[in-house]
């Protein structure tokens, strides 16, 4: 690990002022916030991240979960994933989020990992994590060996000729289905970013993963008021039963009235270069009878634009079955 200066800013404003001195908030940033450390420390040991300054935001009192004025829920940036997953309001009204978090990582990691950190979780692509290899995300312009190499775990949606890295988060998939808003304090004040706009597709700049700019500090996220009568399921398929990243996952928030789907919010994990909200799957379902045939059509629609790589073509069928099964489970719940 390279040397760095460890700083504990007095308040969020001071953290922003210091962080704004970096040229980028994306890959290669020379100022980084640390909360749980589970991603950052891992990548610093690999020399994938080499910040000159590390700002500890753990004592900025961003760790509260409270009711939002609009009837939704406000979740602080440094709320630990385990506290969020076990919070009674989350378990009652946003159970898809609780399920998603408890399906990710291990109990130890969930005790460390935070809301904001999980939003910024980095890909597990082995080429990104290995500085001996080329990688357009880590070193723009060096190429993507994953496209012709080991890509079984990588993405089939939202890829480009420059990058096919999967977003590994479970929490983010549930947050996409819940239409979460991300609140950021930046050099020019505070702003709110809808979840759908927060992560970027790789395109020709896979080193840019989010819309965050130098200085931007995620302070909290808000969930909209719960949808009365909605059924929520997070289904995750992986190579082993626990403590593994998704091959495919589905977050479903669905409302069925008299056998007809009236509302559906669907997001997929393990298959996209970002947490993958699927408006196609939702459109295919809303207004239709809640039955197996329509669930299947919804899943077909979700995978319509899927582009398999040499080793991950199986993910198309797997993701379809995952979503179909998640919808069945939700309606039966």
């Amino acid at each position: 690990m390279q040397t760095f200066e460890f700083i504990r800013p007095a308040d969020p404003a001071a953290a922003v002022v210091t962080a704004a001195q970096t040229k980028t908030a994306q890959q290669g940033a020379d100022v980084r916030f640390v909360a749980g450390g589970t991603t950052l420390l891992d990548l610093m040991k690999l020399n994938v991240e080499t910040p000159a300054r590390v700002l500890d935001i753990n004592r900025l009192q961003l760790d509260r979960i409270e009711a939002a004025p609009d009837g939704g829920l406000r979740i602080g940036a440094t709320v630990r994933n385990s506290d969020l997953a076990h919070h009674p309001t989350v378990q009652r009204d946003y159970s898809v989020l609780s399920q998603a978090i408890l399906n990710g990582a291990s109990a130890q990691l969930r005790n460390m990992a935070t809301t904001a950190g999980n939003l910024l979780q980095r890909t597990r692509c082995m080429y990104f994590r290995d500085t001996a290899m080329p990688c357009n995300k880590r070193e723009p312009g060096t190429g993507c060996p994953a496209i012709t190499g080991s890509n079984r775990m990588l993405a089939i949606l939202g890829t480009s000729e420059h990058c096919i890295a999967t977003n590994p988060s479970d929490m983010c998939v549930a947050m996409a289905a819940l239409e979460t808003t991300i609140h950021v304090l930046g050099a020019k004040g505070s702003r709110a970013i809808p979840m759908a706009d927060f992560h970027l597709l790789p395109g020709s700049t896979p080193n840019r993963e989010t819309v965050l700019e130098p200085g931007d500090l995620i302070t909290h996220v808000t969930l909209p008021p719960p949808i009365a009568g909605s059924k929520q399921i997070y289904l995750k398929l992986r190579d082993r039963a626990s403590y593994e990243f998704a091959l495919a996952s589905a977050a479903v928030v669905i409302t069925v009235v008299s056998g007809t789907v009236t509302k559906a919010r669907i997001a997929l994990g393990g298959v996209g270069t970002k947490p993958w909200r699927s408006p196609e799957a939702e459109t295919a379902l809303v207004g239709k009878p809640a039955n197996a045939a329509n669930f299947r059509k919804s899943a077909e629609a979700a995978m319509h634009h899927a582009k398999p790589q040499s080793e991950n073509g199986f993910k198309i069928d797997l993701a379809k079955r995952c979503l179909t099964h998640a919808l069945r489970m939700a309606v039966a719940a």
């Binding site: 589970t38 891992d42 109990a107 990691l109 039963a241």
Partner: protein, 201 residues
């Protein structure tokens, strides 16, 4: 055969206390390290080292750490508590599991500096050979290990699990213990040990 009570742990602890291992730090990086200072404050007096206080197993420890030092390395190398093990060093195996403020974490993915003023519990703080923690005793009784390398992490995880939301059956325990890998495959006996303690408490 001459019997010797000189163990590898004794050697490591003595080496750390006398600075024999610290001597691997290039001489140019070593500052004025007075003997009084070394007694009061553990850790190399190298440029950029930062003073912190950790409350480890109920005792306040004044330490000096390079900012890069993980909580794991601090416990093992600076405080000479070698019961906590380094496996993967990337949060994937759980051998380094300790409690911070009563909650289990991977000490390898945390900087010592982040825990200034916090309460750390390691396997050494759980019980002693004469008075084992019930979980330690259950691991012995159920044969919950083979080589033993993952065991302190397993036990620290298992003790934390007792206070976490966990269903009564084996699959619930397995799910919450999935962050602790045992390459010997003692899982069945580990689950039995944990269930034994849960039934008796």
């Amino acid at each position: 055969m001459p019997s010797s009570k000189w163990t590898r742990r004794d050697f490591l602890e003595t080496s750390l206390k006398t600075g024999a291992i610290v001597a691997t730090v290039p001489a140019a990086l070593q500052g004025q390290n007075s003997k009084e200072d070394a007694v009061a404050t553990a850790g190399p007096n190298i440029e950029g080292a930062v003073p912190i206080t950790l409350r480890i197993n109920g005792k306040d420890r004044q330490l000096r750490v390079d900012p890069r030092t993980t909580l794991l390395d601090c416990l093992r190398e600076t405080v000479a508590l070698t019961g906590t093990k380094k496996g993967c060093d990337h949060g994937q195996c759980g051998a380094c599991t300790v409690h911070v403020n009563g909650r289990r974490v991977n000490s390898c993915l945390s900087l010592a500096l982040m825990h200034d003023g916090e309460e750390i519990t390691t396997i050494e703080g759980l019980g002693s050979p004469d008075a084992l923690h019930p979980m330690q005793a259950a691991f012995v009784a159920c044969d919950g290990y083979q080589c033993g390398y993952c065991t302190s992490g397993q036990i620290m995880s298992a003790v934390a699990l007792l206070k976490e939301p966990c269903g009564p059956d084996d699959p619930a325990v397995k799910e919450l213990m999935s962050g602790n890998i045992c390459r010997c495959g003692a899982y069945a006996n580990i689950v039995a040990a944990i269930q034994q303690v849960r039934k008796n408490t």
